[in-house]
């Protein structure tokens, strides 16, 4: 089975037609090429070392994303040694009784499951103009899975949080290259103590795979993926937000939208936490040719800690909007599938989707540009031909 990325190639080839073929293109283009990465099925390879894999939108037709289709985002190299028998999780910092857990001990704690839509803060980065540095994610650095494991609060309460404790830091076992700062971040205590914040050991009912953080990861529901530290080995209660590259300047968003391309002062930013309201069209795909008649425009929509209340579809480039039907599968932090039954006549169309959430947020017609390209959430758009 092959995918339909050919349509995208077709589109980019068309865009190039008439211009001189760049030497770069002839050297870089890799039509239909694939790499074998065990356990990772049909994903777009943004980088093989370290591993960054994106889910093609055509896989967004199931409420739960199968693990082999689930995007992978690593900031560094995966741990070279991971052994369930010797793995330890230490809990310390501003606590009365620091302690260490083995995987067997962690597994004995009460298990809780959360269906969560996990999205990389940089999903959609490649769509920002001007372009910004970073992994050039398209639309698919997002997925939904059932995560299971102990509640973080059960572990923290066993340690006894001191009054000074205000933030909870996670450290993973990532192999750190060069002099790169360690991937350490923190979340406020209130979020850490939420009944749905987990030390997850399972994903869709199976033990976490290595690429998803085996043997345990934080799972901070509704928040950017970077909050959910993989290969978790240390939990530390702090009296303030962790100070480090991946809290600042990393993962910060301008307090006020600025002009695209303009620098933003660090003091005019805040940490990125919850996800934005967003939707993606999973079909028809961009560049598709379909027969006239009934065409189901379908996709998925999510809103972090809020609920999706409405998805609208435009088949005329954004002039008129029609209500889509939301799928019945739902959970507090999970996306909703949706479909719009369209009676299509022959012609060329620009189809858009936009979602609105329970906080009254609607996808903005213009994306909020920011220097790191976080939280892109303009309405999704595909161009198709109806024959």
């Amino acid at each position: 089975m092959n995918s339909r990325r050919n349509f995208l190639k077709q589109a980019s080839a068309a865009a190039l037609a008439g211009s001189a073929i760049s030497p770069l293109l002839s050297w870089a283009a890799s039509q239909n090429s694939t790499i074998d990465i065990p356990g990772e099925n049909g994903l777009i390879v943004r980088s093989s070392r370290f591993l960054d894999l994106e889910t093609p939108v055509e896989y967004f037709n199931t409420w739960l994303t199968p693990v082999p289709h689930f995007f992978v985002r690593n900031h560094m190299h995966e741990p070279s040694e991971l052994d369930a028998a010797t793995w330890r999780l230490t809990v310390g910092g501003e606590v009365e009784k620091p302690f260490t857990l083995t995987l067997a001990e962690l597994s004995k704690l009460e298990t809780h499951s959360v269906v969560n839509t996990l999205e990389c803060a940089g999903n959609g980065r490649s769509l920002h103009r001007p372009q910004v540095p970073g992994i050039q994610w398209g639309k698919g650095a997002v997925g939904t899975a059932r995560f299971s494991g102990a509640r973080l609060r059960d572990v923290l309460q066993r340690a006894g949080i001191k009054p000074a404790g205000k933030h909870v830091m996670f450290r993973g076992l990532d192999d750190i290259p060069g002099k790169v700062p360690a991937f350490i971040r923190s979340v406020p205590l209130e979020k850490a103590l939420d009944a749905d914040t987990l030390i997850a050991t399972h994903m869709n009912g199976a033990p976490l795979t290595k690429n998803h953080g085996f043997p345990a990861r934080a799972l901070v529901p509704g928040w950017i993926g970077a909050a959910s530290c993989k290969w978790l080995t240390e939990i530390k209660v702090l009296d303030a937000e962790f100070v480090g590259n991946f809290m600042s300047p990393g993962y910060r968003f301008p307090n006020q939208p600025g002009k695209p391309g303009e620098a933003v002062k660090p003091e005019d930013t805040h940490p990125v936490t919850g996800l934005s309201v967003k939707s993606v069209i999973s079909g028809p795909l961009d560049g598709a040719r379909v027969a006239h008649g009934r065409v189901a425009v379908h996709g998925t929509a999510w809103a972090g800690e809020a609920d999706v209340v409405k998805v609208e579809v435009s088949t005329d480039g954004g002039t008129n909007w029609n209500a889509a039907t939301l799928g019945h599968d739902r959970a507090r932090y999970a996306w909703r599938l949706w479909t719009y039954d369209w009676k299509a006549k022959a012609g060329d169309y620009s189809i858009l989707a936009r979602a609105t959430d329970s906080q009254g947020r609607t996808q903005p017609s213009t994306p909020v540009w920011n220097p790191s390209g976080y939280l892109y959430n303009a309405p999704d758009q595909v161009k198709i031909h109806v024959a």
Binding site: N6, A13, T34, T62, V67, P133, P207
Partner: protein
């Protein structure tokens, strides 16, 4: 080169809840012809030819593969910031090569270049791979008990 109508037959993953919402028209709309074959891509890419290729390869790919560079489309000012950040993070760049490296990157990977076309991970059914990469073989298996 023409890729017109070069689409593929694509099997939708088993749908859960939404399945009842999807009319048959969708299935018709998703039917295509002409399967395309998969070809093996290199696990890690190379940086483009040029006087700075070797030095850039040393500086960048010690920590990460070339695709992370290949996919960027940045102005010279932004490339300068990136190079200086990476030097701070351990990239080995002689002071004498600093400006030439920025020129090399900003010439090859400027905003007006076409987007990089990434490969995909194989689907395990048509790649001809004997490693049997599939959904049933989680990569963490060897380390789990």
């Amino acid at each position: 080169m023409s890729h017109k109508n070069r689409s593929s037959r694509w099997q939708r993953p088993a749908a859960s809840g939404i399945a009842v919402l999807l009319p048959l028209a969708l299935v018709a709309a998703l039917s295509f012809t002409a399967p395309a074959q998969q070809q093996a891509a290199k696990m890690t890419e190379d940086l483009p030819p040029g006087a700075m290729q070797a030095k850039a390869t040393t500086a960048c790919t010690e920590c990460h593969e070339a695709r992370i560079v290949l996919q960027q489309r940045l102005s010279k000012a932004t490339w300068t910031k990136e190079v200086d950040k990476m030097i701070k993070w351990g990239a080995v760049v002689d002071a004498a090569d600093h400006d030439a490296l920025i020129d090399y990157l900003s010439t090859n990977f400027s905003p007006d270049q076409p987007a990089y076309e990434p490969p995909r991970t194989s689907t395990g059914t048509s790649s001809g791979s004997s490693s049997g990469t599939s959904a049933e073989k989680p990569s963490g298996k060897k380390t789990s008990k």
